[in-house]
Amino acid sequence: MNHRITMLRNRLADGPVRSRLLLLLAAGLMLLPVGGLSLWRHVYGFTGDLAPATWVLFFVWFGFPGVFQQWVSIELPFRRRLLLLVSLVLFYVLALGSGPVDPYAYGFQPRLLLLILALWVMLRGRVLPGLTLLLALALAVFGIHGLTSDNLFDYLFDPVLTIVLGISVFRGVMSRRFSSSA
């Protein structure tokens, strides 16, 4: 019995396990009513629909942390994540009005965007199967009008995914700094 309790205590002390438990607790709290709406509805009222990729990555990270870590290290190494983050930040800055061009507009009736994605998959699809699957999922949900939006960009990524990506890049930068100073 004591052995089991010690094992459980050790598991709880484990960072990834602890963070997942906290997340489960937070998910429970989301059902609490606040001001006539559940806390989840307040969050949804702010975030709106999330991209399919956000949900898939969250559940893979939550349910299969080992698989997730391995996939990230292969398909999204630090430099690629950094490049992706810079592109997304630039996209949001332009879409919010800094400059004459609105890249978000190209997500409506997105012939050009679909062509670019198809070309990318033709070139890189076989070596980056995970990202290709995420793109396929986004396009499939777009095809069935699965979200409120009719803009393809809303199916590919969202601000929550961008923020998480930003945190990941920040942690990567910090770990590189510490490892280089050590």
Binding site: G36, D102, F108, R126, A136, A138, L139, G143
Partner: protein
């Protein structure tokens, strides 16, 4: 071998699904405004009717159910079938009212009017609580409404804020098929990639030949500029373009001049000397090009603009520096290139008074209707004819003390 190709094959299938799901919109390239040709028989008749109306001006106040009222919108209710020529014109107005702008008790109100009758008692159109309950989202405050009519159906677009100030606004759409007696559950338009923040609406849209709608809107977060949304008949946003300006601009008022050409007058929210800003499209709203500002002072206040049945453009605005205590009508006979001050509708020597946020409409009999915010206390309605506009003189509406 198969597993290496599996994601690519899945992607190809998803690509086909994406095309199939958005067919034929993905192939649509050309749009045209539903702007009737000048020699159209209906237009000729309407033009003649408008020209025959004697010089006339009258005004009345809309009901005041709340201490504060602002941002009125006006539309002519159109029955499913073409009405008899002598049938009375029926108008529907909507505005937001409450204890003050931005307060939690602000609701949307409506009232209707028909030729020969006074404005009917105001009814509540949407409350903040009802919108929150129906949409299942936190709603902090309600803002500008916009009414758009088509035969047998009314559309209501309105601004709501879930968190933060007006820069955090989103647009919602509701519709009525019983002349405004009941409204459907509002649906949110998705117009921005960043938490759908900061798109607001104020002025009426323009119909396309395929029944879709072009809607002038504006953006306030980080930068202020006009935008053009393309909506399907069922209210989905399928296109967007930006009215870029070097200055901060808001609330575009758009008038189509022909099937491809439209002009937009924008409120100048920039620093220094403010004037009505101007933009044009020559491809039915796909791209907008900045033009030189018009020589009309604009104290960062809303302007309304319509095309009259005689082919001229009519603008209602506050063409004075700094304040909103004079509301005037200006007219252009050269497609908006030059403007002349036609009439002052209302003015006050007190700089704190406000006659603002005009909304214009020419009904099917040719009478011109103007509703505007009166000192933030109520909404005032003025009716006049083209002949009144053509006459010299500035009969000013007397400012009635409360």
């Amino acid at each position: 071998m198969l597993s290496r190709w599996f994601p690519t094959v899945l992607f190809a299938g998803a690509l086909v699904l994406a095309f199939a799901g958005h067919w034929p919109g993905l192939l649509r390239t050309e749009q045209a405004f539903d702007s009737p040709a000048a020699d159209d028989a209906t237009i000729r008749q309407a033009r003649q009717q408008a020209a025959n109306l004697p010089a006339h001006f009258s005004w009345s106040d809309l009901p005041r159910p709340t201490p504060s009222a602002h941002a009125a919108t006006l539309t002519e209710v159109l029955p499913m079938t073409t009405p008899e020529n002598d049938a009375p014109v029926q108008l529907l107005a909507a505005w937001f009212g409450g204890s003050r702008e931005g307060a939690g008790d602000v609701s949307l109100y409506q009232s209707d009017w028909s030729t020969g009758s006074p404005w009917q008692p105001a009814g509540v159109m949407m409350t903040r609580e009802a919108v929150q309950r129906q949409m299942g989202r936190n709603i902090r405050k309600l803002g500008n409404p916009l009414l758009i009519a088509e035969p047998g159906r009314l559309q209501l677009y309105f601004v709501s804020v879930s968190y933060g100030g007006w820069a955090g606004s989103a647009i919602n759409r509701s519709q009525s098929s019983d002349g405004g007696r009941s409204w459907s559950t509002p649906q949110r338009l998705i117009t921005s990639p960043f938490f759908n923040l900061s798109t607001l609406v104020r002025n009426p849209g323009v119909w396309y030949t395929d029944g879709s709608l072009g809607l002038p809107v504006y953006h306030e977060f980080i930068n202020k500029h006009g935008e053009w949304l393309h909506l399907t008949p069922d209210g989905r946003v399928v296109g967007k373009s930006r009215m870029s300006m070097p200055r901060a601009t808001l609330q575009p008022a758009v008038v189509p001049l022909d099937r491809d050409h439209a002009v937009a007058a924008l409120r100048d929210a920039g620093p220094g000397e403010n004037r009505i800003q101007w933009s044009e499209t020559r491809d039915a709203g796909q791209t907008w090009v900045q033009k030189s500002a018009r020589e009309i002072p604009n104290p960062n206040s809303a302007a309304a603009m319509i095309g009259l049945q005689d082919g001229s453009l009519l603008m209602a605005c506050n063409p004075i520096a700094g304040n909103r205590n004079r509301l005037s009508l200006l007219r252009s006979t050269d497609r908006g290139e030059t403007w002349s001050l036609t009439r002052v509708v209302e003015e006050s020597p007190d700089d704190r008074d406000e006659f603002s946020y005009p909304s214009l409409l020419q009904d099917r009999h040719g009478a011109i209707h103007l509703v505007y915010t009166w000192k933030r206390q109520g909404i005032r309605h003025a009716v006049f004819s083209q002949a009144w506009l053509n006459n010299p003189g500035n009969p000013i509406v007397p400012a009635v003390p409360q």
